[in-house]
Symmetry: C2
Subunit: 341 residues, 2 copies
DNA sequence: CCGCAAGTGCAAATCGTTTGGCACGTTTCC
DNA sequence: GGAAACGTGCCAAACGATTTGCACTTGCGG
């Protein structure tokens, strides 16, 4: 199996369908048909053609194919930053989800800049991708810039995309936060604080926290709600403010894990025990949640599944199985209990 | 600026160069020339054409362009798993590196399976990418399967790729390990152990450790070298073996950070102080290195720069600026001193 | 006044596929 | 025996750009 294939392959020129046709003594049409199976081909001819293909090591040129068929079997995923584990995992889920159907993934990092976002969107449409998943939406009403222009399906992750035809997949932050807070309540915490995200975003997590408190018959003390900014440092600052209160909380729900890790930092500084003095719950279940000590109880943000179902929604549209109004799928966020609460 | 562009764009059909030519009253050739600037075009005609382009919202079809020019302005990066922070960062570096030149990145996850590796390699070549970076090589001699077949440039990351024309970029593990070990020596450690990787790989890190020891006039005790498997759990097991020794080491160099984190786990269990009882150095400088306590002294593995220079090597070949034998660039791995040593 | 070069535009070939329509031969069925 | 149906193959027209070669003006020097 070493003889012909590699040696015969010249470095520069790919073999075309015409050459195969010549060698097999048939027309390119016929070769195409044995390849695609779209039309009957006699057993004998089919054999000859396949032999010719094997012998020449023919591989169809996908660019030409895309031009003709107007489908590239590529999807684009535009994310703020592939370096962020959440988006990396999401991308992996998407890639796995569409891989079975023979689709590949093209990634774009926007750094959250809506300008780059638009640039990339245009770029990938020009490149002829069959679908795009936008995980980098700044909620700007994009209905004007034509999201699914050219009829390319778009599914949006997390944010809202104001367009009748785009699907949306998001995590159920509200329910997850509710579960986290309720868990703290059931553990016997009496003063449960929350370190929120910045004011523009993440209100669903706030809502879950509030609902858990009120449905347990407790009010929610505004002094126990302070803002972070999703970062570890922000978590530290917020936690310090909380600990400076006349009466300290005995549990803190943090809007994400990084924030919680910041909170852990100051608890360690202060020599307080987790969860005995203060219990802690995070959100996202990043890798670091198991590395920190004590291991962080948190809410799992289903990044992989998000990417995977985004892929499925996309596929159903790309294959023409579904052509309707935008669908919305909400994924559950299970609480994962470790040692911090 | 809301009037024409979006409203005129029908959802299904893109506008072609021919339509622009019609509207401007010129030939497609001329439109192409004003776009590419490859030939002089009279100022007046140029104006008319540009106006027509603007008015129709024309965007060139990249697939057609690729077919004709045989360049797609896409590179592929094939990695074991984009979920692994190292490869995520590497990918980001690559994407940033080629972005300036208008190239985009297509990613493939092989899970380290050389079968998938080959499948993807063929797939991306069929897709007509202009270059590929392989970060997932199992050292198998691939010269037979034609790495840079079809004349597509390939650059390889980390592993070795036995082909005269492929470039290689790798981190200087040996020097990094040497620096790490020397740092432990200078701190006054007398019995310095190492938790290695599994036997098949990573010998450069072992070498650096050994060289530091011998060049400091010390022998290296084989009992102080135990094997892990790159994981946290493996690190724990290896560390336990080390601590069961009749005379314990007073410092441990771990072949990667995860291993070091495992080592930290058992030190905490044993109630030993880091670095006072035992000093610890890792390798890679993953995010978790700053999260663990105490913050881990480690050797930075320059993932981003690796991807970026891989991109540059690729670019120089894709643009035809370089066409020669395979180049090799080795990137330094600086020691980053934190608190664990 | 001829010739040559530079400036400007277009027609047509090309890239490598897919696919609708036609043609021909063979059955099958009234 | 003729019509309808099918099986099998090829021709040629797309797909949407780029690029080669040619044609026609001008301007200018000799």
């Amino acid at each position: 199996m070493v003889e012909d294939g590699s040696a015969a392959t010249v470095d520069k020129d790919r073999v075309t369908i015409a050459q195969v046709a010549d060698l097999a003594g048939v027309s390119p049409t016929t070769v195409s048909h044995v390849l695609s199976g779209k039309r009957l081909v006699g057993a004998a001819t089919k054999g000859t053609v396949q032999e010719a293909i094997r012998q020449l090591g023919y591989r169809p040129n996908n660019v030409a194919r895309s031009l003709r068929t107007n489908r590239s079997r590529m999807v684009a995923v535009v994310v703020p930053d592939i370096t962020n584990p959440f988006y990396a995992v999401l991308t992996r889920g998407l890639a796995d989800g569409v891989d079975k159907a023979g689709y590949g993934a093209y990634v774009c990092n926007t750094d959250g800049l809506s300008e780059r976002e638009n640039t990339f969107l245009e770029d990938v449409l020009d490149r002829g991708v069959d679908g795009v998943v936008m995980a980098s939406v700044d909620s700007a009403d994009r209905s004007s810039t034509g999201p699914s222009a050219y009829g390319t399906p778009v599914v949006c992750v997390g944010g809202a995309f104001n367009h009748p035809q785009v699907d949306l997949v998001a995590a159920d932050d509200e329910v997850g936060s509710h579960a986290a807070t309720r868990h703290l309540i059931q553990r016997g915490a009496t003063r449960i604080a929350m370190i929120q995200g910045p004011s523009e975003s993440g209100t669903a997590r706030d809502d879950g926290y509030r609902r858990a408190l009120t449905s347990a018959g407790r009010g929610c003390d505004p002094r126990l709600m302070v803002r972070g900014n999703w970062t570890r440092k922000g978590g530290r600052q917020a936690m310090r403010r909380l600990m400076a209160l006349p009466t300290r909380p005995d549990a803190v729900f943090c809007a994400n894990d990084l924030t919680a890790i910041g909170a852990i930092d100051v608890l360690h500084e202060l020599g307080l025990a987790i969860p005995d003095d203060i219990a802690l719950v995070g959100f996202d279940d990043v890798d670091a949640a198991t590395i920190v000590s004590p291991p962080l109880t948190t809410v799992r943000n289903p990044a992989y599944e998000t990417g995977e179902t985004a892929g499925q929604l996309l596929l159903s549209r790309m294959l023409g199985e579904y052509t309707g109004a935008g669908r919305t799928v909400i994924l559950p966020c299970p609480l994962v209990v470790r040692e911090s609460a």
